[in-house]
């Protein structure tokens, strides 16, 4: 009787050692590589937009397909801050010894996608700021394994994330 209990515990322990731990280690490795690829793709996308001044639908689609080729689904948030130099100009014209401050207008993901429905390319100008944030929305294998072993409070934890941004250096047109 005691012998069979020991056997069951031994089999259970063996199963954990042989299957669960390596699986957890390797799936975390996969997640690391997926995160690296997502970070590189995001940095390249933002840098292309920054150095050419154009945000085109085809570039965005290419970026999206690079992200989904890692096997996960993502949520992309883009933000364009457009520079407006007119207030600075008006302040300087009123009192010539002061330089006025410029202001930025923000445009977010849903507005950008709406603009993509009518035009194929969005032009940016020098001084605009463009930034992208990417998070994964599905549960990766390592996330479900970890939840099996210990559960984390809060369902909104994401495993793979990347963000990048910068100033546009060239006028798009």
């Amino acid at each position: 009787m005691g012998d069979s209990i020991i056997t069951i515990i031994a089999i259970f322990l063996a199963a954990i050692l042989m299957f669960i731990f390596p699986l957890m280690a390797l799936s975390e490795r996969t997640d690391n590589i997926a995160e690296l690829s997502v970070q590189t793709a995001t940095a390249e996308f933002v840098d292309t937009v920054r150095t050419t001044g154009k945000l085109s639908l085809s570039e965005y689609d290419k970026f999206l397909s690079t992200l989904t080729s890692t096997g996960n689904s993502f949520e992309i948030e883009m933000k364009i801050q457009q520079l407006d130099e007119n207030p600075g100009k008006k302040v300087t014209q009123a009192t010539s010894s002061k330089i006025g401050e410029n202001i930025y207008y923000n445009t977010y993901t849903s507005q950008i996608m709406e603009r993509f429905q009518t035009e194929n390319i969005i032009y940016l100008k020098e001084g605009d700021i463009f930034s992208v944030q990417v998070k994964n929305t599905n549960k990766t294998i390592s996330q479900s394994l970890r939840n099996f072993v210990y559960s984390l409070a809060g369902n909104d934890t994401y495993q793979i994330a990347a963000e990048h941004g910068g100033i546009v250096t060239v006028n798009g047109n």
Binding site: T7, A10, I11, L13, A14, L17, M18, P22, A25, L26, R29, N32, I33, L36, Q39, T40, A43, E44, D47, R50, T51, T52, Q82, L83, D84, E85, N86, K89, K90, T92, Q93, S96, S97, K98, I99, Y105, E119, I122, Y123, L124, K125, E126, G166, T169, V170, N171, G172, N173
Partner: protein, 540 residues
């Protein structure tokens, strides 16, 4: 065997394998992270370089003199080394080993900034001599005619032509420069003496381009002086590289230069006559736009009849009917881009191969420049930087960065003309320009809208000089085009008169004829007034 033993043996085998694999993965991750980081640092440093170059040349009155330009380029390269050295924490000597070349493409040629031996043992970074965008042509049919053509970033060219079969000796060697366009589009008006007339009353000095009348223009801009008189709009024309302003007050100083923030009167009689001959009611008129089209027509007709034999791979380049050479897809433009590309690539390969003689262990190679970057390079003033040989993880870093300069004095690109209408200025591409049919519009160069600084002591007695700021043009930008960049058409569309579609409505070229006339006039005027350091005139 007991199952526990199997499990332990399994662990003993798998654990080292997974350790090695995770180490390998970590090295790859580090490599890619460092590559991304260095790419970003390189692009930031190149942007600083071009910004420094732009600031230096825009504010430098003598920036078209060659020695001054060399100083500006050296200053911009120093900025590059400084920024890259600070962000990468390398000192200058170490960094110099990894930068094989920096190339500045300017309007009519390019400079390469690279290392060369200054004596038997010493080598240092210096600017190599200016390289023009040239090509040598020889008549394949055996008539002995030869030509060397210097191209530029737009449709200006300089031709050195040798014809051994000419009847007079002086016609054997001809050297001329001009803007190449389609001469059939330009129509001279009967009765106008283009060569002798300096001002035509009531707009009689005019020329037609594709049926649109191009006439003289009255140009104005705001000026502020150290003495802080009220800012007033002064009327000006361009002479050489500077602007002659007409004085508004009734004084004996009729014309002045704007130098050192004061009115510097013009005493030279030749220059005063130049301005006086162009005076009409309302002020001094600029006839540069009419000059542009008149000279372009003469030059293009000469090119079409004398350089007809030039072939590139059995394809004709000049004298192609029904083509506008200024547009992007024309045969002339494609050939020009190919000439410039070949020149830059050959020199780059040589510079980088040469650099191997300074190398320690790394072998320098030319990275593949993408088509998008070539497109930018061949149509704009730009900077290309290379960074090679830094060890990152499992390989060496080898990359380049191309950044272009949009606000520059070096060239007038088609996008750099802003149209002023009412209280706003617009870029070409703005839907409001076409839809709203603004009646009074005029085009100005985008550098005229940049804020200027004047040093003044604000009317006080002390020596404290304070900065006073003003804008030569007081209009504010239209929110559609200058802030949001919602552009619906390109300058090429305006030049060729294509149909423009905005939000479902089609506008034909008759609907925007006003915009077309003023844009073409402004573009022609600015291109004609641009100071060119090699321009030749032979009698043709």
């Amino acid at each position: 065997m007991k199952i526990q033993y199997l499990a332990v043996i399994f662990i003993v085998i798998i654990l080292p394998i997974s350790l090695v694999l995770s180490q390998y993965a970590r090295v790859q991750i580090d490599t890619i992270n460092m590559q991304t980081k260095y790419n970003k640092l390189l692009s930031e440093a190149t942007y600083d370089t071009i910004k420094a170059f732009q600031l230096n040349t825009v504010n430098n009155r003598y920036s078209n003199v060659a020695t001054s330009k060399l100083r500006d380029i050296t200053a911009a390269s120093n900025t590059f080394f400084k920024t890259l050295g600070t962000t990468m924490v390398y000192n200058r000597e170490d960094l110099e080993q990894h930068i094989p070349a920096i190339i500045y493409t300017l309007y009519d040629g390019y400079y390469v900034y690279t290392k060369s031996y200054t004596s038997d043992i010493k080598s240092e970074f210096s600017i190599k001599p200016f390289v023009y965008y040239t090509r040598y042509y020889q008549d394949q049919a055996g008539t002995g005619r030869k030509a060397i053509i210097n191209y530029t970033l737009d449709n200006y060219m300089t031709v050195f032509y040798f014809n051994p079969n000419a009847t007079n000796d002086e016609d054997k060697y001809i050297t001329i420069s001009g803007f190449y366009t389609n001469p059939d589009d330009i129509e001279l008006i009967e009765g106008v003496e283009y060569e002798n007339m300096n001002y035509g009353a009531n707009g009689t000095l005019k020329i037609k381009y594709q049926g649109i009348e191009i006439t003289e223009e009255l140009l104005t801009e705001n000026l502020v002086f150290s003495s802080l008189e009220n800012p007033y709009e002064y009327n000006y024309i361009k002479y050489g590289n500077k602007k002659i302003y007409r004085n508004n007050a009734l004084s004996d100083v009729k014309y002045f230069w704007y130098e050192n923030y004061v009115k510097t009167p013009i005493y030279d009689n030749a220059i005063k006559n130049y301005a006086e001959n162009r005076r009409g009611n309302g002020g001094i008129y600029s006839r540069s736009a009419v000059d542009y089209y008149y000279n372009a027509k003469k030059f293009s007709e000469w090119v079409n009849s004398n350089l007809d034999w030039i072939r590139d791979d059995n394809k004709k380049i000049f004298n192609i009917p029904n083509e506008i050479p200024e547009l992007r897809g024309s045969t002339f433009n494609e050939h020009r881009m190919e000439v410039i590309r070949e020149s830059i690539t050959t020199n780059l390969i040589k510079a980088i191969a040469n650099y191997n003689s300074y190398a320690n262990s790394y072998e320098y190679e030319l990275p593949q420049i993408s088509e998008i970057d070539w497109d930018d390079l061949l149509n704009n003033v730009s900077v290309i930087t290379f960074l090679q040989g830094i060890p990152i993880g499992s390989k060496y870093f080898n990359d380049y960065c191309v950044i272009t300069n949009n606000k520059t004095e070096e060239m007038i690109s088609k996008n750099s003309i802003y149209m002023v209408g009412g209280q706003e200025y617009h870029k070409i591409g703005c839907p409001n320009l076409v839809k709203n049919k603004i009646a009074q519009i005029k085009g100005y160069f985008n550098l005229d809208f940049v804020r200027q600084t004047v040093k003044s002591n604000l009317g006080q007695e002390n020596d404290n000089q304070e900065n006073v700021y003003f804008y030569p043009r007081t209009e504010s930008g239209c929110y559609y085009c200058t802030v949001k960049s919602e552009l619906s058409y390109t300058p090429d569309d305006i030049i060729s008169g294509n149909d423009i579609i905005i939000g479902g409505t089609t506008f034909k070229k008759e609907n925007y004829a006003n915009l077309r006339k003023y844009y073409l006039t402004a573009l022609a005027r600015e291109k004609q007034d641009l100071y060119k350091s090699n321009s030749f005139k032979d009698n043709i």
